[in-house]
């Protein structure tokens, strides 16, 4: 064993809200050996990114660090700034989540990749360029010699992430820190990036600290796993042992919240993450834990190790208690929906940039020949990668953009409708967007946001308060929230507010455009379950648009697969998974987390 990084008792506190420092990470200890990948897993607010930034010492100036971070002979927690600068980019490389933000848009990739190498190793511009070429080849950019002088915007999302990785590798670091490098990428691309990092770590005998909120991402490649909750380690150890038998209730809940193909019900984690100021003195997960006992609240539980993993829990789950949500792959197809929405030959072309007098150049269609019908109470899933036209499809159904072809709701075509009649009909199709904060006017109170549809429909003001209270309750929010502005709410809460607003319009159909892709897995599980429950109560139909096949398969009765603006395959969910006809569908299914992988 050859430890590259050894973190011992690392605690970090940050100033929050002008009331002195608050601990955000407590007593973190972990070790990564050369050639190994450790998955540091946690949801937002767990402290995982703080841990990664501490290693690079990229925390805000007023952050307080205690404990040791050993990288070989150097204690990174104690190094002075000049020495730290020699470590960054040379002994430790870092890959961030958003490569477009992390790359300089005005410089070529060759100069950016060569930069770290020249700063640390000196050498000529020519040598740096040669190194850049070598690295681009290593990270799998096709025809690297031709791409050296390209700018970041000329690369696709996945290729940009490869360029970022090449930059991080420029000085052959001993440790690579990857902070959510695959989040936001299409699943097929994300898998390639994951495989690339796994390959590089073996070839270069490099230690990798892989930070992620999604357990399913690291399942295949990580050698060890370290789960954080509310700033403290809850479970850690070998990856195989961990996935075969998670011992901490939070690990189990987190695993159960990841949507997998063939899953009947996602596991909710009730309650909310405690704020750093009000963390419970004992086990921090105790208030949300299904196995909670009185003595859990006394002190933070000691770690109990057995069988390759250790969990900070007084009542670790026994090995016999396997993941209990595993159910047969096929789910019974629901049938006999009354017809509701019919879409025929839908096509959308975005106009190119027009000149002053000339007509705008026609671009290739973003969506072509899309035809499908949707029954009352049915959920149609639409999957595809970015640029496949899935959001365009949703927006055309919503009548937000001009389109060719016809969209009929309850047998009546939108095309002939004008003015108030059109607005009235449009109301019956509602929408929930991806970015929950963008979908609400930040200067309008939550109660007024939800009441907006009522006011627009001319409902009497007297009943408004009651309706708002009822709706907030229905989406699982405290009715007292009505008086607040949306600024301070969490992503999950914001998305619930957006759903409440959509419901207030009493729609027949809701288009859900990536409703959970900006949320943590446990929040996503709660939201998907909420949407499922609402549909069964109200006979509501959904068009669920997502790049995540597992999410779609969990929700949808039928799935349409979009590729390059066309529906390449559409079938009942179970049939589609069992026997995909199109190779693109098969690839998507292959990339999605599946139940059999963990219940092996």
């Amino acid at each position: 064993m050859n430890p590259v990084l050894n973190i011992d008792g690392l605690s970090v506190s940050l100033p929050r809200g002008g009331r002195g420092n608050t601990a955000v990470l407590d007593a973190l200890s972990l070790t990564i050996n050369a050639g190994e990948m450790l998955g540091l897993v946690g949801e937002s607010g767990s402290g995982k990114t703080i841990a990664a930034l501490s290693v690079m010492r990229l925390l805000p100036k007023n952050a307080k660090i205690t404990g040791d971070i050993w990288l070989g002979e150097d204690n990174l927690a104690r190094l002075d700034e000049p020495a730290m600068r020699r470590v960054r980019g040379s002994k430790v490389g870092m890959v961030f989540q958003n490569p477009l933000a992390a790359l300089n848009p005005s410089r070529t990739v060759a100069s950016q990749i060569g930069e770290a190498w020249r700063v640390h190793q000196g050498g000529s511009a020519r040598a740096a360029r040669a190194r850049a070429l070598e690295l681009l080849g290593e990270v799998g950019i096709p025809e690297p010699a031709k791409r050296l002088d390209d700018y970041p915007h000329q690369f696709s999302g996945g290729m940009r992430q490869r360029v970022m990785i090449a930059m991080a590798l420029a000085c052959s670091p001993k440790l690579l820190i990857a902070d959510e490098p695959t989040t936001g990428l299409d699943p097929l691309i994300a898998r390639q990036i994951m495989a690339l990092i796994a390959r590089l770590r073996r070839e270069l005998d490099m230690a990798v600290l892989f930070v992620t909120h999604d357990l399913s991402v690291i399942e295949e490649h990580a050698d060890s796993v370290h789960v954080l909750y509310a700033g403290r380690s809850v479970e850690w150890g070998g990856s195989a042992a961990f996935f075969a038998h998670p011992k901490h209730p939070y690990s189990e809940a987190l695993l159960g919240a990841v949507p997998r193909i063939g899953q009947a019900r996602l596991q909710n984690i009730p309650g909310n993450l405690p704020e750093p100021e009000s963390r419970p003195p004992g086990c921090r997960f105790a208030p949300r834990c299904g196995y909670h006992q009185p003595n859990c609240d006394a002190a933070y539980p000691p770690a109990i190790a057995s069988g390759g993993t250790a969990a900070a829990c007084l009542y670790p789950l026994p090995a016999s208690q396997r993941i209990t949500y595993a159910e047969p792959l096929t789910k019974p197809a629901r049938r006999n929906f009354a017809p509701q929405l019919e879409v025929r030959d839908l096509a959308v072309r975005y106009a190119g940039q027009g000149s002053w007098f000339g007509a705008a150049a026609k671009l290739p269609p973003s969506l072509a020949e899309a035809s499908f019908a949707l029954g009352r109470g049915e959920c149609l899933g639409v999957v595809g990668e970015s640029g496949s036209g899935k959001s365009t499809l949703g927006r055309a159904v919503l009548q937000m953009i001009p389109y060719e072809g016809s969209v009929m709701l309850d047998g009546e075509d939108f095309t002939g409708l004008k003015g108030a009649a059109r607005r009235e009909k449009r109301r019956r199709i509602q929408v929930v967007f991806q970015d929950p904060r963008e979908s609400m006017n930040p200067r309008i109170k939550i109660g007024d946001i939800i009441a907006e549809p009522l006011r627009l429909a001319g409902a009497p003001r007297s009943a408004e308060r009651e309706t708002v209270t009822k709706l907030l309750d229905r989406v699982g929010l405290n009715p007292e929230m009505a008086a607040r502005l949306p600024g301070g709410v969490s992503g999950g809460q914001a998305q619930r507010i957006a759903i409440a607003r959509a419901l207030a319009a009493e729609p027949e159909l809701i288009v859900l455009d990536e409703p959970t892709s900006s949320l943590d897995v446990s929040t996503q599980a709660m939201l998907l379950n909420l949407l499922k429950d609402l549909a069964s109560q109200a006979g509501l139909s959904y068009i669920l648009i997502s790049h995540d096949f597992a999410v779609v398969s969990y929700m949808a009765d039928r799935i349409a697969v979009l590729n390059a603006g066309r529906i390449v395959e559409m079938n009942d969910t179970a049939k589609l998974i069992e026997a995909p006809q199109h190779k693109y569908t098969a690839a998507l299914i292959g990339a999605a987390p599946q139940l059999h992988r963990i219940s092996r």
Binding site: R427, I429, F433, E438, S439, I444, P453, L456, A505
Partner: protein, 292 residues
Amino acid sequence: MSEQIAVAGAAGLPTARLAGFLGWVSKRSTLAAGLALTFIILFIGFIAPFLYPADPYAIHPAHALEAPSWAFPFGTDELGRDNLALVLSGGLATLIVALPAAVLAFFVGLAYGLLSGLAPAWADRLLMRLLDAILALPSLIILIFFASLVTLNNTSLILLLGFISWPGLARLVRNETLAQRGRDFVLAAEQLGGSRFYVARVHLLRAMAPVLVVNGTFMVGDSIFALSALSFLGLGVQPPQVSWGSLLESALDIIALDPWWLIVPPGLLVFGSLLAASLTGQGLLQRWGSGR
């Protein structure tokens, strides 16, 4: 920001509200300075003329061109008029034209910008090119041109100044409208059946409130400056009524006699008004800059 307001509001009592407000302001010294200066200027313009009862047009030939004294705190002009009374009267005359003109320009600019931003692309282009044409001409030149055509009184001056200083805001509002109307919450409101007018009124105006308030404040300063410049050129407030600009102009005629007491007060007040508007605007900008 909302936190502190909410705290003060929850307390409910007027004093608590005031304390909350003062605490909120003092944390933002630029805004505090701007607001304080604004109050001083408004006081000088609208209240002080009634507290200092001397007649600005009474002539005291025996005391012509005297430096400040107990009898005439700001001295007298070459005709022997009480300069303090003139400055106060000129302040009222300046503000009574400049403020309504700024308000007029504000609403014209807002309406034009919203219209252009919400109109179909071809109409938007047309309206914007028209705006370019107006902006291409120096506003002071146009102002002088029109001022020489019409009879100058308060109403015509308000209209002139108002209709000349809106294009800047119109362009800002139009760009802001385009930026905001594609945001998800605007799309959601349209999906709920909100008409274009409703969306503009409820969502766009609120979303661009910082831009409007900040630039509206700046427009007040600009308006005072433009009127003073016009008056300085003899095209503003007409004699016998004086204004800060015309006081400066008449002092300039006898500058060889070094009448510093005739130049400093109106000059400082024009400068102070601009500073008040600018500081208030800057302060609001700091407070709202990141408030998206």
